[in-house]
């Protein structure tokens, strides 16, 4: 019995081992097959993608389509687009404004010509004849009036209509705006910004923010939206053959989602992408890519706390301006060096702005010795020979410089520069929210902050605080003279007078130096030369009220013509 049992056990074990081996083999084969299947799956669809990519390139040459980096910026209606980034760009493809801008100047768009009354309170626009909506109906002045009335009933932050008193259609192609007071930025902020919507489609819509279907997106613009994928941030546009300037050259525009824009550009998924300055060499000598540079209308400034001694004295701030070499700062801190940014101008406006006063650029040339002597006359000097200045009251000139971690290099460079004139700076990195809070509450010595939107009308940039009681986020000189200039700038409509006023404001700014502009970054865009030429950055501040992106619809309408 025992023997039999043991034999039984041995046989059982043998069987087990054999079975185990077979089992394992079976299982291994099964797993291998599954893995193979998985890779085939991925490989197949990978092939699909690459073959469609190959088709895209010859297609780009033949059928005039273009792929651009996408992202979700909202459904392109005036009430649902996202008021940031390229949100307005999508809006501009479908809807038109009264006037527009190209790479040089303001050009007529829906309005053929326009004039303003001498007192600046009345603007008359003469519309182009024969403009049709994308559904065939004609566009008249009544649509324009309806647009403005509707926008006042359903306000959107992007459109600034509070200065308008009435809008009236004199006839089918003429309309008159009456303003409450003279408003110089009217052309750029209203006529060049507000998209005209068709009355026959919108007059019965009670809640415009609830629009979700594409059928209602009828404009007069060069493109119609055919597909919108919100989750992925993808848009597809088809050209409008009855556009008033003629059928656009590019027939289809696809905005596709990309993870890394440079990777997508290299892989051929998109035909254009913005590239950081540090990657310029990568695209420079390649015949299939062209690189374009344009202003970012953004500035990094050194902000002073006026309540803090000694920064309350303008002489001290001017001395510091002389102690800081902006070009050296850019070379040290900005990736791409002097190719990546332009040195700051003490008048605040960037050199790319049409309102820029070039004479101010050299107002405070780099001169540490002069800076030291200026500080001395202001009462700040090194009295005890320890290389660190003391103020008039004997306090050590030692300050903290608040910054976000992104600008630590700039902070360090500033620390070194100011050390040479005897001021000790301690960079302190913190998150954006805390930084903003501290600056707003005035609990800081010096701070590095940045601002964009410098392409807008100068009355809005330099005159904020004076213009319509808005809260200041930039610093402005608190002189009554400045305030008067700002108010005049807002009201006057004569261009040469405005230029003069702006120059005076910049000069006052440069003398008072509420903040010291350090540099203005430069943006780069690389595109495939074969897909489309004629790219440009829009003049006078950027698309619309000042979006510094190279997606002006004219590029796609004109095609390769320069």
């Amino acid at each position: 019995m025992e023997l039999g049992g043991r034999a039984f056990c041995i046989r059982e074990t043998e069987v087990k081992i054999v079975r185990l081996g077979r089992e394992r083999a079976v299982r291994l084969r099964f797993m291998a097959a599954a893995l193979l299947l998985l890779f085939l799956l991925c490989g197949c669809s990978g092939n699909d993608e690459s073959s469609s990519k190959d088709q895209a390139n010859p297609a780009a040459k033949a059928s005039r389509t273009i792929h651009l980096p996408g992202g979700d910026w909202g459904l392109p209606t005036p009430f649902t687009f996202y008021p940031r980034g390229p949100g307005y760009i999508h809006l501009s493809f479908i809807y038109d404004t009264l006037i527009w801008k190209d790479e040089k100047e303001v050009i007529p768009w829906l309005a053929e010509r326009w004039e303003s009354s001498p007192d600046g309170l009345q603007w008359t626009f003469y519309l182009r004849s024969g403009v049709k909506w994308q559904d065939g109906k004609p566009l008249t002045a009544r649509d324009v009036c309806f647009t403005f009335d509707y926008l006042r009933a359903h306000p959107v932050e992007w459109f600034d209509l509070q200065g308008i008193s009435t809008v009236q259609a004199v006839d089918d192609e003429t309309l008159v705006f009456r303003l409450k007071q003279p408003y110089a930025p009217f052309l750029s902020r209203v006529a060049g910004n507000v998209p005209i919507i068709p009355e026959h489609l919108w007059k019965d819509v009670a809640d415009p923010r609830a629009i979700s279907n594409l059928g209602g997106l009828v404009g007069s613009g060069p493109y119609r939206l055919t597909r919108y994928d919100k989750a992925q941030g993808a848009y597809a546009y088809e050209a409008n053959p009855h556009f008033f300037l003629g059928a656009p050259h590019i027939k289809s525009i696809f905005f596709v989602p990309v993870g890394d824009p440079v990777a997508a550009l290299e892989r051929g998924l998109v035909d254009e992408a913005s590239i950081p300055a540090s990657l310029l060499e990568r695209f420079h000598n390649r015949p299939d890519f062209s690189v374009l540079s344009g202003p970012s209308y953004w500035v990094l400034t050194l902000r002073f706390n006026f309540d803090q001694h000694p920064f309350s004295q303008p002489a001290v701030r001017q001395a510091l301006a002389r102690a800081i070499d902006c070009e050296a700062l850019i070379r040290q801190a900005v990736p791409g060096g002097l190719q990546g940014a332009k040195p700051g101008s003490p008048g605040f406006l960037p050199p790319d702005s049409t309102w820029f006063d070039a004479k101010l650029q050299g107002l405070y040339p780099y001169n540490p010795a002069k800076a030291k002597s200026l500080l001395q006359t202001a009462g700040v000097e090194d009295r005890d020979g320890d290389q660190v200045c003391e103020g008039a009251d004997g306090a050590r000139m030692q300050f903290t410089l608040l910054t976000t971690p992104q600008y630590l290099r700039e902070a360090e460079a500033l620390q070194l520069m100011l050390q040479k004139v005897g001021l000790v700076l301690q960079p302190k990195a913190m998150d954006v929210k805390s930084l903003d809070a501290l600056v707003r509450e005035g609990r800081f010595d010096l701070a590095l902050t940045g601002h964009g939107g410098l392409g807008a009308d100068p009355a809005m940039i330099m005159g904020f605080g004076a213009a319509a009681n808005r809260s200041q986020s930039f610093g402005t000189p608190s002189l009554p003279a400045y305030r008067t200039l700002a108010e005049k700038l807002l009201a006057s409509s004569c261009r040469s007078e405005r230029l003069e006023l702006c120059r005076s404001m910049q000069r006052l700014y440069a003398e008072q130096l509420p903040t010291l502009p350090l540099y203005y970054p430069i943006w780069f865009s690389a595109h495939r030369s074969q897909a489309l030429g004629g790219w440009f950055y829009t003049a006078q501040g950027g698309v619309g009220i000042g979006i510094p992106l190279p997606y002006n619809k004219l590029i796609f309408i004109r095609g390769n013509e320069p």
Partner: protein, 258 residues
């Protein structure tokens, strides 16, 4: 496993260079900078060590905090199982049911991104797990003879806890807190990766985040020595803590079965 832990601990006490901007940005590894420099020009190696200090600090703080509160609450719940215990366990259940990462994100958005807040949030999320196991153990211990004798003699809760229970519960606590520590490191790295951590503190998660944020990093060769080392360090730390935890678990189980 414990050896890895010790190695990490020793690293924390030998950081040599502070995180000053000590070189030109994105230089490859060299004698002066064993791991090169990052986009700002800071030495990656010393940042790695500083990050080690931070991560260990977070791990220790969270494990201590959750151990202490978990012990207290769990022991109390086990000791007075009728009313207090039910109430406390209900709280524990509720806290355990709330999804962790979304809660961390929610809290991180509304509190200032300070390291202390991060630690506090992590402690709040970790102690329920500890409490639950402690309570189970205390429930069992409570009925043991010597504890009953002490209670019969009139020993109060605090006394029993200090003198007797802690000694019994210590190995279990250690095992649980090792797991809590590994989760703390992962959670802190995840928070920094999402950009919600403390930006002034150069933890490993922050290093990974700033590496990924640098425009065009992947097209230089810099990502190999900027991105990979902190990733490896995080994994290594979590690995050693997890193994320690599981090892302790195994040892406990073996001890119990003896």
């Amino acid at each position: 496993m414990l050896l890895t832990l010790l190695a990490l601990a020793s690293l924390a006490w030998t950081p040599h260079a502070p995180e000053a901007l000590s070189g030109p940005p994105l230089t490859p590894p060299s004698l002066g900078h064993p791991l090169g420099t990052n986009g700002l020009g800071q030495d990656i190696f010393s940042q790695l060590l500083a990050g080690c200090r931070i991560s260990l600090l977070v791990a220790v703080a969270v494990s201590l905090g959750s151990a202490a509160s978990g012990l207290l609450v769990g022991a109390a719940a086990g000791y007075y199982p009728r009313r207090l215990g039910v109430l406390l366990m209900r709280c524990v259940d509720v806290l355990m049911a709330i999804p962790r990462l979304p809660l961390i994100i929610l809290l991180a958005v509304f509190l200032r991104p300070h390291l202390l807040n991060v630690v506090a949030v992590l402690v709040i999320l970790s102690w329920p797990g500890v409490a639950r196991t402690i309570r189970a153990q205390v429930l069992a211990l409570r009925e043991q003879d010597f504890i009953r004798f002490v209670r019969f003699c009139g020993g109060g809760f605090g006394y029993v806890l200090r003198q007797h229970l802690v000694r019994e519960l210590f190995p279990l606590l250690l095992a649980k807190t090792a797991v809590a520590a590994s989760y703390a490191i992962v959670a802190e790295a995840g928070l920094s990766f999402l950009g919600l951590g403390d930006p002034t503190v150069k933890s490993w998660g922050m290093m990974i985040r700033s590496a990924l944020d640098y425009p065009g990093l992947l097209w230089t060769s810099a990502w190999v020595w900027w991105l990979l080392p902190p990733s490896a360090m995080v994994s290594l730390a979590v690995f050693s803590f997890t193994l320690t935890g599981y090892g302790l678990d195994e040892a406990l189980r073996r001890e119990e079965s003896e």
